[in-house]
Subunit: 306 residues, 5 copies
């Protein structure tokens, strides 16, 4: 599967190259001091870094687990947005009905589905702290755009517009009372997914754990050369660099995974998912014009699909 | 992201400074006895603290996991409160309807939404054992406030008032029977979130685990200096302080996370979330006066957004 | 928070005092044999108890996790009972309606809510294998009590009475068809919570795990003194007692947590929760007499609120 | 609680007695070779089995966790079957209604509830690969039994009969449209529980993990005697047997737990649960004859209630 | 149970035979260098590979857990597809009704159920990147197949056809409004299961963890021979090969489990599950011709039922 190559090793190592270089220099200094300058008393028993390594592994396992859970929850929430967008469209297309399938109702359906697409783009943008109405203008009516001005949180505003249109459809008799309630429930699930994303975005991973893990890692790397110099000699340098890189990589990955909406290449691919929704929803509206299916755009290529 | 700086390192270390000082003095005494007074027989093999360290790591991992789960569940419950408050407002605004959109119905909607805001503030306050009707008076009618007197648990009373209003709306014909039931379901979800918060608040983490972890940590710190004095000499003191601080920090963080409604700076930010709800709900009632969107107040600044 | 002091250390240690005494005597005998009688060949390398200790830690972690999950699930189920009791009451009070708010309907509501309170008490009692209709007589009509005779499982009978009353209310026209179904759903959730509690009550923790953990712990304690006598000398005795007590405490706590309905002080506080429900539900029926709000009774004081 | 004694230690040890005997003989041979024949060079450092033991513990912890989760999920699914059988009965008894409470409707209710009991027995039997219509004949009409012939999966057929009867009740006007849908939802939940059990039954635990854990355990037991012979001498034999038995027991228990529907004594007690459902459902139909409440039968006594 | 033999050991070992051979040669070279050429200085203390082994075990445990969770979730989603396909069929057969049970309605039911079977096959095929309309032609009408041309994602198109047919049934009066909504909800659950599968398919396991685990494993295998050569001598070679094979097997299994829709023998058995659905659904339509129940086909035999 090509996607697996999407995060190049180079990108990952690029993130820790400064740290690895510092570890290399540090280990080299210790090795020279020991081997060439005969400071052999600096050797400590290997049990000390072993003890630290075990503790550190447990901490990194805890950290990785929680970070992975956040990342996977974010992905699952966007999966739910895909599902509920499809459901909403199926319901709008098949529930809304007028005696003679009037042009007004057709227009209503198209507007509703387009606004759902707009909501997906807008949510993705606002989670990344980007302009939340970019790419959204052409999917909305001017008066709806004007309405959005009143809202600090644009996706909340779009949902309220959904609700108001639903009310209109009910009052016009285009949907019956059960259908209104069922459509409203789909909106409720979309609101829940939106709230879940905002929760992950706004809740930082407890700072102390991050800090502590980092300090323990530092201490481990500082002591490791002294623990193995006696047995490895100069070969200690590549060994220390390899072990330290591994731990640093793990820590860095956890940091990336735990905040999946930070506009970084390792983000949850919200734009790409929104484009898939865009394509599917427009294909479901077969009776309407659909020349405008979006192609993956250049600014998305910067992101890797995890 | 600025929020990450919200819990200053200083605050965290401030919590353990006494313990760290005691560890420092203790390690120093051992070091002096060994190095200067030549009590070299007190050295023990490093395998003993290693064994204790491994056990302790597993215990702290268990403890941290459960504490983190409590904290994350509390945050998720407040996320659900955000979602369901938005849903309730969308439903009240769009379901409730009168033939000529009478002033009475408009007034009803405004009162309902304001009471929902009041409920959020009140729940946050009562979870923190603060006055549960502070900030709530101006959002409620005098007679509703009088009604609340009968309730030990104020948010339960506010929910009952919601239910009574819903009944009135149904009897007046402002909502149909499906809409009444659907609105009632949203109330049910809010009641579930409230009950979940109360459960976390009222259920202490099993005391034996806390106690045992603390005793094991104490034993570990007591033995650590003797285990490493032989290899480190005087350098043992900073090493012991660093390792002990790490473990103490982890334990302290678990204690803070496991009780997220204790009016401490590391709490779930209930007031801040309630203010976000306040803002969003008032913006959804665009047709009403909304000059009163709250600004983050001073007494909130004491809390850090986790 | 005062509740944290609810399980006194003394109670916890009281549970393991025999075992701790035996460990003390055993360690003392080994120490005397080694130090005074010079049986120095009995010393074994510390790596052996270390290996056992690591394995044991993993086993106890697994055990503690599963026991904690059972305990937390039991608590969550009772939290759900609190929530759904409040919901049921809100629905009964606000859904049930008669043209002139007849006395008969008022009486119906009061009887329904009181039976819900009775159900909570009865479920708590029967989960603890106590008389399931104690404290329940005064909340029920005599003919309802007679009906209950037919049931082996009393709470199941009370739920069936709820269902029959609901049918009567529907046939009388006091609730409409949607309200009947919605009230029935609340009953379904209560039935689910009841079934969950029964599942935890009736399903023992797999006996082999308990047995194995206990045997491994025994082996560890038997070998520990020989592993550390060489390095600690007489000081080995307090060290062994401290480590053994820790492991024994953890095991004991897991045993207590895994069976949360055994009428022990560390139980899920079902009576206390039922009294909270009692208070809240009676306060929600403001229009009725409510002099009888229960005070925490003496026989509850024996239980600690976890 | 008596149930805890239900899996006798003897049964558990019986499962591993061959393996334990082989370990005993093997360890004895090594001990004799070392102590009597002075092959002292075969001793290896204890660090080797320690490393293997740690790895093995982690593997067994993973294995035990997944096996326990499968077993607990199977138990939870049967708990859900208990809950939904009660709910279905409450709904059938209280929703189905005819103007004069005709004999036909009473007969309909009894047939429906008996078929639900039959479904529980039939599902339990077919999950264990036993005859799925044993004990079921007397609960069903002859023509229903004939209908079942068309189905490879009998419980699926019974559910379809439920659905058909529901349709008949709706067409006859015995239930209204909301009640039909609500009853259908209960059937949906029962279908979900059935599908969940089939999933656990048909999905084997990944074979490689089982295989690998077994090989690692073998390697560990093979090396252990050489690791401790130097320190323990002849006392090594009981030590090795004790440690090996512990690991073998854990592995065996995981194997039993991971397949909870294999007609073994450690199964999920499906027959016993079905009998509880039988009793409760018949007691709920108080107005009908109920002499036939089943007593626990002999063929159940072979199973232990976990 | 025969299924357990479905993944032959040979298949599993076949996947790692190259790696194992390389490890064997490498260990042999080290052994010859040490024993025959007396390069005895290359020996390192066993504590180094022990430390790496512990860390590696934790990493593999994390990896295995997440891979297992993905695999189990995929299996659970297909279990939900089984359940909801049965539910949908039960509902279509029993909800849809015409005054005289017209041929048109019978035809409608058969077409609906066949399209559901087609959806299951199509989803399975498209998840494996195979032709999504293979085996589907004979279950669909020509005009429906033509309709599918408009869709990039064929299962989404089939769901939309379901929705359109539901609308037709409602407009014709074959289902009432509650039944339409209830059937639509079953479609919603099927859409959610489909979306969940797509999420697992499209989201790769974070590449850094895979990479890091692989590097750590490599480092461990490289160092292991030097750590044990001193104690084992030539016997080191089989020991190293055995330990390395175990770790390699675990890693390989995790890689297989984490991507359960890759058209490999260890996949989630989507075709086999779809055939079970096919059989059950056709048996539920007893009144229709059902000669065409599929037999397990040859191209399925390549897959092992996990």
């Amino acid at each position: 599967m090509l996607l697996k190559k999407n995060i190049p090793i180079r990108y990952v190592f690029g993130k820790i190259k400064v740290e690895v270089l510092m570890v290399f220099v540090y280990a080299l200094v210790v090795a020279v001091a020991y081997v060439n300058l005969h400071f052999t008393r600096i050797s400590i028993p290997i049990a000390v870094p072993t003890m630290l390594g075990t503790i550190l592994s447990l901490l990194l396992a805890f950290r990785s687990n929680q970070a992975y859970d956040r990342w996977w929850e974010a992905r699952t929430l966007w999966g739910a947005i895909v599902n509920d967008s499809r459901t909403l469209t199926r319901q709008v297309l098949n529930f809304v009905d007028t005696p003679y399938n009037s042009v007004e109702a057709l227009y209503f359906k198209e507007m509703f589905v387009k606004r759902q697409i707009a909501w997906c783009y807008s949510l993705g943008q606002s989670l990344r702290d980007l302009c939340p109405i970019k790419d959204v203008e052409k999917l909305l009516m001017p008066e709806q755009l004007a309405n959005l001005q009143d809202y600090t949180n644009k996706p909340v505003g779009l949902m309220e517009l959904h609700g108001e249109d639903l009310r209109r459809a009910y009052k016009e008799g285009w949907v019956n009372e059960y259908q209104q309630v069922e459509l409203d429930r789909t909106l409720t699930r979309l609101v829940n997914a939106m709230g879940g994303c905002e929760r992950i975005k706004k809740t930082v991973f407890p700072a102390t754990y991050s800090l502590y893990t980092h300090l323990a890692l530092l201490l481990f790397i500082l002591l490791l050369p002294f623990g193995v110099i006696n047995d490895f000699g100069v070969m200690m340098v590549p060994f220390v660099v390899a072990v330290a890189s591994s731990f640093l990589l793990i820590e860095k990955m956890a940091i990336h995974l735990q905040d999946p909406f930070e506009n970084k290449p390792t983000d949850t691919p919200v734009t790409s998912i929104a484009q898939t929704i865009d394509r599917d929803l427009k294909q479901m509206m077969r009776e309407f014009k659909e020349a405008e299916i979006p192609k993956p755009q250049d600014h998305v290529a910067r992101f890797y699909i995890l």
